[in-house]
């Protein structure tokens, strides 16, 4: 069975629920994340992966450099660390 996976960002760590995408998890926790297609072809959501690994159900169309992942369509396989910060507003209320 899929379990929650620990995601660490520049500012906090949270548990990614099995039912949510990494993008949804980052949004839920107030991160400054971009998106457009939410299905792997625009590349807007691209972030850098510092540790851990992810998997894609189908190879996304967007261009990725080494160490970059697409939160909208990847599935972390183990705890991961990504470089992304919080939204300014979320920071204030946090």
């Amino acid at each position: 069975m899929k379990k929650a996976i620990q995601v660490s960002t520049e500012e906090l760590a949270f548990q990614l629920a099995p039912s949510e995408t990494l993008l949804e998890g980052l949004e839920r926790t107030g991160h400054q994340v971009e998106y457009q297609c939410r299905s792997g072809y625009c590349g807007s959501c691209r972030v850098t992966l510092h540790s851990g690994s992810v998997h894609y159900e189908t190879t996304p169309l967007a261009h990725l450099n080494k160490n970059e992942i697409l939160p909208c369509c990847c599935r972390p396989l183990e705890p991961i660390e990504v470089s992304i910060g919080l939204k300014v507003k979320a920071k204030k209320s946090a």
Partner: protein, 377 residues
């Protein structure tokens, strides 16, 4: 390198570089050097839509009731979009096709440019509906100083490349005097022009268009001009794919994967590439000045649009391996734009506007193996 519409060289297409190899002969897709372009073609085809299928009739009365300064914003924005797609509907074909050497990239360029012609046709659809005489809008594109300034800048890199390609293919490398003008012609310089042109196209599709989208959606946020917004959403979906296409091309060039000299070309163009981004951002800010000259609109003004320009410029530079140039612009000042840009609208339906992909009966082309797991043939 001589162009032929059907090169008679019995070549192995898998060994040709993206550009500057032998011209493509057989249009075959059973084997692909870069399958990504074939995937982009398929995706673009699955996005096919027709402007006439989008109902824009409500926009007519919305437009009539807009205050004058907002009419100016709306129409000027539309004129600018018309200009951009006029260029994109032809230029990738004219400039890139004579240089391409692999069939999947050749067909991607044609498919890409074709989709731009749909965008152009959609502007006529929109304009016809909101004004009695569309000519008033279209004619002004060629007479409006603010728009013409942009046109020159955007078409410059395409024209440069096209002219230089003509010289190279006709006369070859060397110093040539044509009509009293002396040209130094060599392949390295031709490659540089192609690379810079690709960068400027990326800027057009990844920055200039998005600035215009912000304006279109700012009306829709207030439940105005929603027919227009539906069309712009379809256009935005296509543009996202186009910029993925140019990002792939640029990246393959930078890595020198199939033409090692291209990596050197890319390095030599670095400063100029940054300048293309910087200049475009500056020009978009000047455009914002013109848009809001008679007043702002609710939700969007020159200051906010400027911040968005800087933010999106940084974001796009990063995607093609360039250091962001606007240090402070790390936050999206108009996060609501994403809810409009989102293509499949799985989560947020901004207000009541119908989901554009349902509207045109788009077929979901992405069926994963899991979906078919229980099927037996």
């Amino acid at each position: 390198m001589k162009y032929s519409t059907f090169s008679l060289a019995d070549n192995d297409q898998l060994k040709e570089p993206m550009f500057f190899g032998r011209p493509v002969n057989v249009a075959r897709y059973d084997q692909q050097k870069y399958p990504i372009f074939e995937k982009l073609i398929e995706k673009q085809l699955s996005f096919f839509w027709r402007p006439e299928e989008v109902d824009v009739s409500q926009d007519r009365s919305d437009y009539r009731n807009l205050p004058e300064h907002e009419k100016h914003i709306f129409i000027s924005n539309l004129k600018y979009q018309t200009l951009l797609d006029s260029i994109q509907g032809r230029s990738p074909n004219v400039a890139f096709l004579p240089l391409v050497s692999i069939p999947e990239l050749e067909t991607w360029i044609e498919t890409w440019s074709f989709s731009e012609t749909i965008h152009s046709r959609s502007y006529t659809h929109i304009i016809r509906n909101i004004v009695n005489d569309p000519a008033v809008v279209f004619d002004d594109i060629m007479r409006n100083q603010h728009i013409i300034e942009r046109a020159t800048d955007i078409s410059k890199h395409y024209d440069d490349l096209i002219q230089y390609t003509l010289l190279y293919t006709k006369l070859g490398a060397g110093t040539h005097t044509v009509n009293g003008e002396t040209h130094q012609v060599n392949l390295f310089e031709l490659k540089r022009k192609l690379y810079l042109c690709m960068m400027s196209v990326n800027v057009l599709e990844a920055i200039r268009f998005y600035v215009s989208f912000a304006c279109s959606f700012a009306f829709a946020e207030r439940r105005l001009m929603e027919g227009n917004a539906k069309i712009i959403r379809l256009i935005a979906r296509d543009e996202a794919l186009h910029l993925t296409g140019t990002q792939h091309i640029i990246n393959i060039m930078q890595e020198g994967k199939d033409d090692p000299e291209m990596a050197e070309v890319a390095r030599s163009c670095r400063e100029e590439s940054i300048e293309i981004f910087r200049h475009a951002a500056q020009q978009e800010k000047e455009w914002a000045e013109y848009l809001f000259r008679d007043g702002s609109m609710i939700g969007l003004n020159k200051g906010i649009l400027d911040q968005y320009i800087e933010y999106i410029t940084n974001h796009r530079m990063d995607a093609v391996g360039l250091e962001p140039i606007f240090e402070k612009a790390t936050q999206n000042p108009i996060p609501w734009i994403n809810a409009w840009l989102v293509s499949d609208n799985v989560q947020v339906a901004p207000q009541e506007v119908e989901v554009s992909s349902y509207l045109v009966g788009q077929i979901d082309s992405e069926i994963s193996a899991d979906d078919l797991g229980d099927f037996e043939l």
